[in-house]
């Protein structure tokens, strides 16, 4: 109790009072130490998070607030200092903005097209890598190389591979008897092509994460499953996958966030035509639409509103996921 008040009382008074309370020689030092201890206990968490939040305040919060403010104005990149107040108009107009909804739809479909196969393949590859392999070190490094490649370099190559008339993929498709595919113009085809670039870059990385988690699964689980007569496939489904649930969840969260902000791949996949995302906007994602409004059409206010809308949609999704999970747990 005394200690508690000592901590809370003005610092200068404390040592004298502790001394006046008639302790032995060690007493004041002890109080001092415990006071410092409590002080440390109380404030150190803030000290630990402070560096991040300091930088966040300077370089994260200010842009966020600025765009929030800009979203309520008509403001052009040609003159960012002159703003005309328009209230919520930049937001309400999104309701009727078919390009926005189109971009939202594309973001969802490309997100699914890239995330689901990516994680599924990663799981499969991890499973294979988990066998006793010759050259396993080579495989593990090799599958990680796409991750080191920049989006720009990767997309450049894939644009050539996916060329309509002379691309290597169509060449192979024709050779095996399928027709050539217009990877740029087909809605599904173009989204698949963009997703392929994402899948190529990230699958190996996710596979290694899964592999690690797999190696931590206790062997007894497999042994008892084997005793129950489970096949390898059944073991994979009923032992491996459930044990990996937290890891899978983590990769899902990270991939989902990445998918919602997808931007570089669809921008560069468009060859010469900038941020339209194809002649029918068929692979224009929200990130790309935001870029088109801000950096091609130069409407900073509208672009800001799109960014905030993206942000709010993600918050909604996160909230919904939380609610669902909460319910699932309570049952």
């Amino acid at each position: 109790m005394t200690d508690e008040t000592a901590v809370l009382s003005p610092s200068a008074a404390a040592p004298e009072r502790a001394a006046a309370e008639g302790g032995g020689r060690g007493r004041p030092g002890q109080v001092w130490r415990s006071r410092r201890y409590r002080w440390d206990l109380r404030w150190s968490p803030y000290a630990f998070v402070a560096p991040f939040f300091l930088f966040f305040a300077a370089f994260g919060l200010f842009p966020l607030l600025y765009t929030g403010w800009a979203a309520l104005h008509q403001v052009e990149l040609t003159d960012p200092d002159s703003m005309t107040w328009v209230g919520l108009r930049n937001f309400t107009r999104l309701w009727d903005d078919e390009f926005f909804w189109n971009a939202l739809r594309n973001t969802v479909t490309i997100g699914l097209l890239s995330t689901v196969p990516q994680l599924a393949i990663a799981l499969g590859v991890a499973h294979l890598l988990n066998y006793r392999l010759r050259g396993s070190a080579f495989f593990r490094v090799a599958v990680l190389t796409p991750y080191a490649t920049s989006v720009a370099a990767a997309t450049l190559v894939f644009v050539l591979l996916f060329g309509r008339d002379y691309g290597m993929i169509n060449w192979v498709l024709s050779a095996v008897g399928f027709g050539a595919v217009d990877w740029q113009n087909g809605t599904f085809a173009s989204q698949l092509a963009v997703s392929t670039i994402v899948i190529w870059r990230w699958t190996g990385y996710n596979a290694l994460i899964y592999l690690a988690a797999m190696q931590a699964v206790p062997g007894e689980l497999y042994e008892s499953a084997a005793l129950d007569g489970a096949s390898r496939w059944q073991q994979f489904l009923h032992v491996t996958v459930p044990s990996l649930r937290p890891t899978i969840l983590f990769t899902c969260v990270v991939s989902t966030i990445g998918a919602t902000q997808l931007f570089g791949e669809p921008l560069l996949f468009n060859g010469g035509a900038g941020a339209t995302g194809g002649s029918d906007h068929q692979f224009q994602t929200l990130g790309l639409y935001l870029y088109e409004q801000g950096w091609v059409n130069l409407h900073l206010g509208r672009a800001s509103a799109i960014a905030w809308a993206m942000f709010l949609i993600l918050l909604l999704i996160a909230g919904a996921a939380r609610l669902l999970r909460g319910r699932g747990n309570s049952r």
């Binding site: 206990l41 968490p45 000290a47 630990f48 560096p51 991040f52 939040f53 930088f55 966040f56 300077a58 370089f59 994260g60 200010f62 842009p63 966020l64 765009t67 960012p80 294979l128 890598l129 988990n130 066998y131 006793r132 392999l133 010759r134 070190a137 495989f139 593990r140 490094v141 090799a142 599958v143 190389t145 991750y147 080191a148 490649t149 920049s150 370099a153 990767a154 450049l156 190559v157 894939f158 050539l160 002379y166 290597m168 190529w200 290694l208 994460i209 690690a212 988690a213 190696q215 931590a216 890891t247 983590f250 931007f263 570089g264 929200l286 935001l290 801000g294 800001s304 942000f311 996160a318």
Partner: protein, 274 residues
């Protein structure tokens, strides 16, 4: 731990997957060894030509590559050290310490992850210009230190990987927070720090959008900024652009090959509990 011996099919499938992973990179090198004219012809080249040295040389001098590589190492290195340090500190606080405002602050961190990065460019540039940091490396380093993902990542890891009893035991022994940090948290977090470090380094190395606004090619370019100057002149020379892309990726690849085992080990260890 269970290790069944791999069958032949496993090797075939893994071989295909690896080939797919490596192919675009190899093809980049092939393209970099050809001429611009040859790249427009069909069928595209499948094997190396004799132009690699010339293209690399043009890319090197045209893109001011020496300065650019050095700058990129400085930028990516600083960003990595800073991010890993800050993320570990904050991640530990969020994972294991109780303090008022914790939930709200953590929500802010998660919220930050959801902000589309394209948008911050204009306000950030206004800020940088006010500080007269245009074309200085700190203009690229400091904003990149706000890595919400890092905090989130470290928190997720430490929640499981660092036994609370360990922290409490150290505390009852009267260890100060700094001591706890140094002797308990850092050792436990090391694998995750390695992974985060690698992720941050690669991300920072390949970052393009913000550096191209903040830096110039003649001042203090990073590799990605320098590369935008390639293929200039009347006809964009694709083979030189590819050579540049190769030069920009090569250092990362070398790091991957030399430290591949450690990086992969780090990822694996880091992921176990994450």
């Amino acid at each position: 731990m269970r290790s069944l011996r791999a069958g032949q099919l496993t090797y075939v499938v893994l071989g295909l997957f690896t080939a797919g992973s490596l192919f675009p990179l190899v093809w980049t090198a092939i393209a970099a060894s050809r001429t611009n004219t040859r790249l427009a012809q069909t069928p595209p080249p499948f094997w190396f030509g004799g132009n690699l040295g010339r293209n690399l040389q043009i890319a090197w001098t045209d893109a001011n590559m020496g300065t650019a590589l050095l700058n990129t190492v400085i930028v990516a290195g600083t960003v990595t050290v800073g991010t890993v340090l800050f993320s570990t500190l904050a991640g530990f606080a969020f994972a294991k310490l109780r303090f008022r405002g914790r939930r709200m602050l953590m929500a802010m961190v998660v919220g930050t992850m959801l902000i589309p990065p394209q948008l911050s460019v204009v306000p950030l540039y206004m800020l940088i210009a006010k500080l007269s940091w245009t074309d200085r490396l700190q203009a690229v380093v400091l904003p990149s230190l706000v890595c919400a993902f890092g905090v989130f990542f470290m928190r997720q890891y430490l929640v499981h990987a660092l036994p609370t009893e360990l922290v409490e035991a150290a505390r009852t022994d009267g260890a100060s927070s700094l001591r706890v940090m140094w002797h308990v948290v850092f050792p436990a977090a090391r694998p995750a720090m390695a992974v985060l470090g690698m992720l941050t380094f690669v991300m920072s190395w390949n970052d393009f959008f913000w550096p191209i606004v903040a830096l110039t090619q003649n001042g203090s370019p990073t590799v990605q900024v320098a590369l935008t100057g390639l293929g200039r002149g009347y006809i964009p020379d694709q083979s030189v652009i590819m050579a540049g892309a190769l030069l920009g990726t090569l250092p990362l690849l070398v790091v991957f090959i030399v430290f591949g085992r450690q990086i992969v080990g780090g990822i694996m260890q880091g992921a176990v509990k994450g």
